[in-house]
Protein backbone atom coordinates (compact mmCIF):
# COMPACT_ATOMS: atom_id res chain seq x y z
CA UNK A 1 0.00 0.00 0.00
CA UNK A 2 2.85 2.30 0.89
CA UNK A 3 4.58 1.44 -2.41
CA UNK A 4 1.42 2.21 -4.24
CA UNK A 5 1.20 5.62 -2.57
CA UNK A 6 4.80 6.38 -3.35
CA UNK A 7 4.19 5.21 -6.92
CA UNK A 8 1.19 7.51 -7.25
CA UNK A 9 2.82 10.49 -5.64
CA UNK A 10 4.65 11.92 -8.73
CA UNK A 11 1.53 11.50 -10.83
CA UNK A 12 -0.63 13.11 -8.16
CA UNK A 13 1.88 15.92 -8.01
CA UNK A 14 1.61 16.38 -11.76
CA UNK A 15 -2.18 16.29 -11.62
CA UNK A 16 -2.33 18.94 -8.90
CA UNK A 17 -0.49 21.40 -11.16
CA UNK A 18 -3.67 21.57 -13.20
CA UNK A 19 -7.02 22.59 -11.70
CA UNK A 20 -10.72 22.53 -12.45
CA UNK A 21 -11.99 26.11 -12.84
CA UNK A 22 -14.42 27.44 -10.23
CA UNK A 23 -17.87 28.64 -11.27
CA UNK A 24 -17.92 32.30 -12.30
CA UNK A 25 -20.14 34.91 -10.57
CA UNK A 26 -22.11 35.26 -13.81
CA UNK A 27 -22.82 31.56 -13.78
CA UNK A 28 -23.96 31.79 -10.17
CA UNK A 29 -26.28 34.67 -11.03
CA UNK A 30 -27.72 32.84 -14.05
CA UNK A 31 -28.29 29.54 -12.31
CA UNK A 32 -29.69 30.96 -9.06
CA UNK A 33 -32.08 33.16 -11.06
CA UNK A 34 -33.33 30.10 -12.98
CA UNK A 35 -33.61 28.13 -9.76
CA UNK A 36 -35.62 30.88 -8.08
CA UNK A 37 -37.92 31.03 -11.07
CA UNK A 38 -38.45 27.29 -10.80
CA UNK A 39 -39.01 27.72 -7.06
CA UNK A 40 -41.80 30.23 -7.66
CA UNK A 41 -43.41 28.08 -10.33
CA UNK A 42 -43.61 25.02 -8.07
CA UNK A 43 -45.86 26.04 -5.23
CA UNK A 44 -45.62 24.74 -1.70
CA UNK A 45 -48.87 22.78 -1.86
CA UNK A 46 -47.46 20.35 -4.39
CA UNK A 47 -46.63 17.44 -2.01
CA UNK A 48 -50.28 16.68 -1.25
CA UNK A 49 -51.27 17.30 -4.86
CA UNK A 50 -48.96 14.61 -6.21
CA UNK A 51 -50.78 11.56 -4.72
CA UNK A 52 -54.12 13.19 -5.57
CA UNK A 53 -53.07 13.62 -9.19
CA UNK A 54 -51.83 10.05 -9.33
CA UNK A 55 -55.13 8.83 -7.91
CA UNK A 56 -57.13 10.81 -10.46
CA UNK A 57 -54.92 9.56 -13.30
CA UNK A 58 -55.28 5.93 -12.12
CA UNK A 59 -59.06 6.27 -11.81
CA UNK A 60 -59.28 7.81 -15.28
CA UNK A 61 -57.15 5.01 -16.71
CA UNK A 62 -59.35 2.38 -15.01
CA UNK A 63 -62.55 3.98 -16.35
CA UNK A 64 -61.05 4.14 -19.83
CA UNK A 65 -60.00 0.47 -19.74
CA UNK A 66 -63.46 -0.64 -18.56
CA UNK A 67 -65.19 1.49 -21.19
CA UNK A 68 -62.94 0.07 -23.91
CA UNK A 69 -63.63 -3.49 -22.73
CA UNK A 70 -67.41 -2.86 -22.77
CA UNK A 71 -67.23 -1.24 -26.16
CA UNK A 72 -65.20 -4.12 -27.56
CA UNK A 73 -67.66 -6.63 -26.10
CA UNK A 74 -70.72 -4.80 -27.54
CA UNK A 75 -69.05 -4.47 -30.91
CA UNK A 76 -68.19 -8.17 -31.03
CA UNK A 77 -71.75 -9.16 -30.07
CA UNK A 78 -73.19 -6.85 -32.73
CA UNK A 79 -71.01 -8.54 -35.33
CA UNK A 80 -72.04 -12.03 -34.24
CA UNK A 81 -74.82 -13.86 -36.14
CA UNK A 82 -76.50 -16.92 -34.65
CA UNK A 83 -75.64 -20.15 -36.48
CA UNK A 84 -78.08 -22.43 -38.40
CA UNK A 85 -81.21 -23.67 -36.69
CA UNK A 86 -79.83 -27.14 -37.00
CA UNK A 87 -77.07 -26.29 -34.57
CA UNK A 88 -79.37 -24.27 -32.34
CA UNK A 89 -81.83 -27.13 -31.93
CA UNK A 90 -79.23 -29.78 -31.25
CA UNK A 91 -80.18 -31.97 -28.36
CA UNK A 92 -77.75 -31.89 -25.51
CA UNK A 93 -75.18 -34.58 -25.91
CA UNK A 94 -73.90 -36.87 -23.29
CA UNK A 95 -71.12 -34.41 -22.56
CA UNK A 96 -73.68 -31.88 -21.32
CA UNK A 97 -75.09 -34.43 -18.92
CA UNK A 98 -71.73 -35.06 -17.42
CA UNK A 99 -70.99 -33.51 -14.07
CA UNK A 100 -68.21 -30.97 -13.76
CA UNK A 101 -65.08 -32.54 -15.17
CA UNK A 102 -61.46 -31.57 -15.12
CA UNK A 103 -60.36 -29.87 -18.33
CA UNK A 104 -63.93 -28.46 -18.59
CA UNK A 105 -63.22 -25.84 -21.28
CA UNK A 106 -61.36 -28.39 -23.38
CA UNK A 107 -64.20 -30.91 -23.08
CA UNK A 108 -66.71 -28.21 -24.10
CA UNK A 109 -64.56 -27.33 -27.06
CA UNK A 110 -64.52 -30.98 -28.10
CA UNK A 111 -68.34 -31.12 -27.80
CA UNK A 112 -68.66 -28.07 -30.04
CA UNK A 113 -66.29 -29.58 -32.60
CA UNK A 114 -68.24 -32.82 -32.42
CA UNK A 115 -71.53 -30.97 -33.01
CA UNK A 116 -70.13 -29.11 -35.99
CA UNK A 117 -68.76 -32.28 -37.53
CA UNK A 118 -72.12 -33.99 -37.03
CA UNK A 119 -73.93 -31.22 -38.82
CA UNK A 120 -71.59 -31.51 -41.75
CA UNK A 121 -71.95 -35.30 -41.77
CA UNK A 122 -75.76 -35.11 -41.69
CA UNK A 123 -75.93 -32.90 -44.75
CA UNK A 124 -73.41 -35.08 -46.56
CA UNK A 125 -75.38 -38.14 -45.56
CA UNK A 126 -78.68 -36.68 -46.78
CA UNK A 127 -77.02 -35.86 -50.09
CA UNK A 128 -75.74 -39.37 -50.33
CA UNK A 129 -79.15 -40.88 -49.48
CA UNK A 130 -80.77 -38.62 -52.06
CA UNK A 131 -78.34 -39.72 -54.76
CA UNK A 132 -78.89 -43.43 -53.89
CA UNK A 133 -82.67 -42.92 -53.98
CA UNK A 134 -82.41 -41.28 -57.38
CA UNK A 135 -80.30 -44.17 -58.65
CA UNK A 136 -82.84 -46.70 -57.38
CA UNK A 137 -85.72 -44.81 -59.00
CA UNK A 138 -83.87 -44.75 -62.29
CA UNK A 139 -83.16 -48.44 -61.99
CA UNK A 140 -86.83 -49.22 -61.23
CA UNK A 141 -88.02 -47.11 -64.14
CA UNK A 142 -85.68 -48.94 -66.50
CA UNK A 143 -87.17 -52.24 -65.29
CA UNK A 144 -83.80 -53.77 -64.66
CA UNK A 145 -83.68 -56.04 -61.67
CA UNK A 146 -80.64 -57.68 -60.29
CA UNK A 147 -80.85 -61.45 -60.45
CA UNK A 148 -81.30 -62.95 -57.04
CA UNK A 149 -79.95 -66.28 -58.13
CA UNK A 150 -77.50 -67.09 -60.90
CA UNK A 151 -79.04 -68.40 -64.15
CA UNK A 152 -79.63 -72.15 -64.26
CA UNK A 153 -80.55 -72.37 -60.57
CA UNK A 154 -77.12 -73.50 -59.63
CA UNK A 155 -75.67 -72.55 -56.31
CA UNK A 156 -73.05 -69.82 -56.03
CA UNK A 157 -71.16 -71.95 -53.64
CA UNK A 158 -68.09 -73.72 -54.87
CA UNK A 159 -68.77 -77.35 -55.75
CA UNK A 160 -66.43 -78.66 -53.11
CA UNK A 161 -68.32 -76.68 -50.43
CA UNK A 162 -71.77 -78.09 -51.21
CA UNK A 163 -71.53 -80.76 -48.56
CA UNK A 164 -70.22 -78.39 -46.02
CA UNK A 165 -73.49 -78.54 -44.11
CA UNK A 166 -72.85 -82.14 -43.29
CA UNK A 167 -70.17 -81.04 -40.86
CA UNK A 168 -72.50 -78.92 -38.77
Amino acid sequence: MKDEHSENWPLENLLTRAHVPEPSPQLKQRITAEARKAWDQTSADIPWQIPLRRLVASAAAAVLIIWLANFSSDYTLAQWRPGSACVATQQPTDFDMLPEMPYGPFAKHMVLVDRRSRVIDASALSDYVESVRRLLDETEQNGVSTPLAPPGGSSRLAPGRADARSYS
Binding site: N8, I31, T32, A38
Partner: protein
Protein backbone atom coordinates in the same frame (compact mmCIF):
# COMPACT_ATOMS: atom_id res chain seq x y z
CA UNK B 1 -29.43 24.96 8.02
CA UNK B 2 -30.01 24.11 4.35
CA UNK B 3 -32.45 21.35 5.23
CA UNK B 4 -34.28 23.69 7.63
CA UNK B 5 -34.62 26.30 4.87
CA UNK B 6 -35.96 23.63 2.54
CA UNK B 7 -38.43 22.51 5.21
CA UNK B 8 -39.64 26.09 5.63
CA UNK B 9 -39.88 26.36 1.84
CA UNK B 10 -37.67 29.42 2.04
CA UNK B 11 -36.29 30.58 -1.35
CA UNK B 12 -33.04 31.56 0.39
CA UNK B 13 -32.25 27.85 0.26
CA UNK B 14 -31.19 28.36 -3.36
CA UNK B 15 -28.18 30.41 -2.24
CA UNK B 16 -27.33 27.88 0.43
CA UNK B 17 -27.55 25.09 -2.11
CA UNK B 18 -25.22 26.99 -4.42
CA UNK B 19 -22.65 27.67 -1.70
CA UNK B 20 -22.66 24.09 -0.57
CA UNK B 21 -22.75 22.12 -3.81
CA UNK B 22 -21.98 24.29 -6.84
CA UNK B 23 -18.18 23.89 -6.85
CA UNK B 24 -18.18 20.15 -6.30
CA UNK B 25 -21.05 19.53 -8.70
CA UNK B 26 -19.48 21.65 -11.40
CA UNK B 27 -16.15 19.83 -11.07
CA UNK B 28 -17.98 16.51 -11.14
CA UNK B 29 -19.97 17.46 -14.23
CA UNK B 30 -16.91 18.85 -16.00
CA UNK B 31 -15.06 15.60 -15.55
CA UNK B 32 -18.10 13.55 -16.60
CA UNK B 33 -18.82 15.65 -19.68
CA UNK B 34 -15.24 16.86 -20.43
CA UNK B 35 -16.69 20.22 -21.39
CA UNK B 36 -17.05 23.41 -19.39
CA UNK B 37 -20.07 24.73 -21.31
CA UNK B 38 -21.94 21.44 -21.17
CA UNK B 39 -21.14 21.17 -17.47
CA UNK B 40 -22.55 24.65 -16.82
CA UNK B 41 -25.74 23.90 -18.74
CA UNK B 42 -26.21 20.60 -16.92
CA UNK B 43 -25.50 22.31 -13.59
CA UNK B 44 -28.37 24.68 -14.29
CA UNK B 45 -30.64 21.74 -15.10
CA UNK B 46 -29.53 20.02 -11.92
CA UNK B 47 -30.30 23.09 -9.79
CA UNK B 48 -33.73 23.50 -11.37
CA UNK B 49 -34.41 19.80 -10.78
CA UNK B 50 -33.24 20.07 -7.16
CA UNK B 51 -35.54 23.05 -6.58
CA UNK B 52 -38.51 21.23 -8.10
CA UNK B 53 -37.83 18.22 -5.90
CA UNK B 54 -37.02 20.27 -2.81
CA UNK B 55 -39.77 18.61 -0.78
CA UNK B 56 -38.09 15.25 -1.24
CA UNK B 57 -34.69 16.79 -0.66
CA UNK B 58 -35.88 18.23 2.66
CA UNK B 59 -36.67 14.71 3.85
CA UNK B 60 -33.57 13.05 2.36
CA UNK B 61 -31.23 11.37 4.81
CA UNK B 62 -28.10 12.14 2.79
CA UNK B 63 -28.39 15.39 0.87
CA UNK B 64 -25.09 14.89 -0.95
CA UNK B 65 -26.08 11.49 -2.31
CA UNK B 66 -29.43 12.86 -3.46
CA UNK B 67 -27.87 15.87 -5.18
CA UNK B 68 -25.20 13.76 -6.94
CA UNK B 69 -27.83 11.27 -7.98
CA UNK B 70 -29.72 14.04 -9.76
CA UNK B 71 -26.46 15.14 -11.43
CA UNK B 72 -25.65 11.57 -12.46
CA UNK B 73 -29.13 11.19 -13.94
CA UNK B 74 -29.00 14.45 -15.87
CA UNK B 75 -25.52 14.02 -17.35
CA UNK B 76 -26.16 10.87 -19.48
CA UNK B 77 -29.23 12.47 -21.08
CA UNK B 78 -27.11 15.45 -21.98
CA UNK B 79 -24.39 13.18 -23.42
CA UNK B 80 -26.99 11.41 -25.59
CA UNK B 81 -28.28 14.73 -26.88
CA UNK B 82 -24.72 15.92 -27.52
CA UNK B 83 -23.90 12.77 -29.51
CA UNK B 84 -26.78 13.62 -31.79
CA UNK B 85 -25.24 17.03 -32.37
CA UNK B 86 -21.56 16.32 -32.86
CA UNK B 87 -20.73 19.83 -34.08
CA UNK B 88 -21.17 21.19 -30.54
CA UNK B 89 -18.89 18.53 -29.06
CA UNK B 90 -15.66 19.50 -30.80
CA UNK B 91 -15.43 23.11 -29.61
CA UNK B 92 -14.81 22.92 -25.85
CA UNK B 93 -11.64 21.50 -24.27
CA UNK B 94 -11.18 23.92 -21.39
CA UNK B 95 -12.71 21.84 -18.63
CA UNK B 96 -9.31 21.36 -16.99
CA UNK B 97 -6.96 24.33 -16.66
CA UNK B 98 -3.38 23.21 -17.24
CA UNK B 99 -0.17 25.25 -16.77
CA UNK B 100 0.91 27.19 -19.82
CA UNK B 101 4.69 26.73 -19.54
CA UNK B 102 6.21 24.75 -22.44
CA UNK B 103 7.96 22.15 -20.24
CA UNK B 104 4.66 21.11 -18.60
CA UNK B 105 2.80 18.20 -20.16
CA UNK B 106 -0.54 19.92 -19.59
CA UNK B 107 -2.22 19.11 -22.87
CA UNK B 108 -1.19 15.46 -22.68
CA UNK B 109 -2.45 15.29 -19.12
CA UNK B 110 -5.85 16.68 -20.12
CA UNK B 111 -6.04 14.32 -23.09
CA UNK B 112 -5.03 11.35 -20.93
CA UNK B 113 -7.66 12.23 -18.31
CA UNK B 114 -10.31 12.59 -21.02
CA UNK B 115 -9.40 9.12 -22.36
CA UNK B 116 -9.98 7.45 -18.98
CA UNK B 117 -13.27 5.65 -18.38
CA UNK B 118 -15.78 8.07 -16.87
CA UNK B 119 -16.14 6.24 -13.55
CA UNK B 120 -12.36 6.31 -12.97
CA UNK B 121 -12.03 9.92 -14.12
CA UNK B 122 -14.75 11.15 -11.77
CA UNK B 123 -13.08 9.51 -8.77
CA UNK B 124 -9.67 10.96 -9.66
CA UNK B 125 -11.08 14.45 -10.21
CA UNK B 126 -13.04 14.39 -6.95
CA UNK B 127 -10.01 13.12 -5.05
CA UNK B 128 -7.33 15.33 -6.59
CA UNK B 129 -9.20 18.51 -7.47
CA UNK B 130 -11.89 18.62 -4.80
CA UNK B 131 -9.77 17.00 -2.05
CA UNK B 132 -12.51 14.53 -1.16
CA UNK B 133 -11.76 11.35 0.73
CA UNK B 134 -12.71 7.91 -0.56
CA UNK B 135 -15.35 7.77 2.16
CA UNK B 136 -16.93 11.03 1.00
CA UNK B 137 -16.80 9.99 -2.66
CA UNK B 138 -18.37 6.65 -1.83
CA UNK B 139 -21.18 8.58 -0.11
CA UNK B 140 -21.74 10.85 -3.12
CA UNK B 141 -21.68 8.05 -5.66
CA UNK B 142 -23.48 5.51 -3.43
CA UNK B 143 -20.71 2.99 -3.94
CA UNK B 144 -18.64 0.89 -1.52
CA UNK B 145 -15.47 2.60 -0.42
CA UNK B 146 -13.39 -0.31 -1.77
CA UNK B 147 -14.91 0.18 -5.24
CA UNK B 148 -14.05 3.87 -5.18
CA UNK B 149 -10.49 3.09 -4.08
CA UNK B 150 -10.00 0.48 -6.78
CA UNK B 151 -11.40 2.83 -9.44
CA UNK B 152 -8.88 5.41 -8.31
CA UNK B 153 -6.05 2.87 -8.40
CA UNK B 154 -6.92 1.54 -11.87
CA UNK B 155 -7.37 5.08 -13.16
CA UNK B 156 -3.97 6.14 -11.86
CA UNK B 157 -2.35 3.04 -13.39
CA UNK B 158 -3.86 3.85 -16.76
CA UNK B 159 -2.76 7.47 -16.46
CA UNK B 160 0.76 6.38 -15.61
CA UNK B 161 0.89 4.13 -18.68
CA UNK B 162 -0.49 6.90 -20.90
CA UNK B 163 1.96 9.44 -19.51
CA UNK B 164 4.95 7.10 -19.05
CA UNK B 165 7.20 8.93 -21.52
CA UNK B 166 6.64 12.17 -19.63
CA UNK B 167 9.02 12.94 -16.78
CA UNK B 168 6.88 12.79 -13.67
Amino acid sequence: MLQAALMRDDPAAVELLWDRYANDLLAFLKCVLCSIHDAEDVLQMVFVRIVRKRHKLAKARCLEAYVYKIARNEAPGWIRRRKRDRAVRAADESWLVVPKSPDEPGEKLRAALARLPQEQREVIVMKIYRQKTFLEISGFLELPQSTVASRYRYGMEKLRIMLENITL
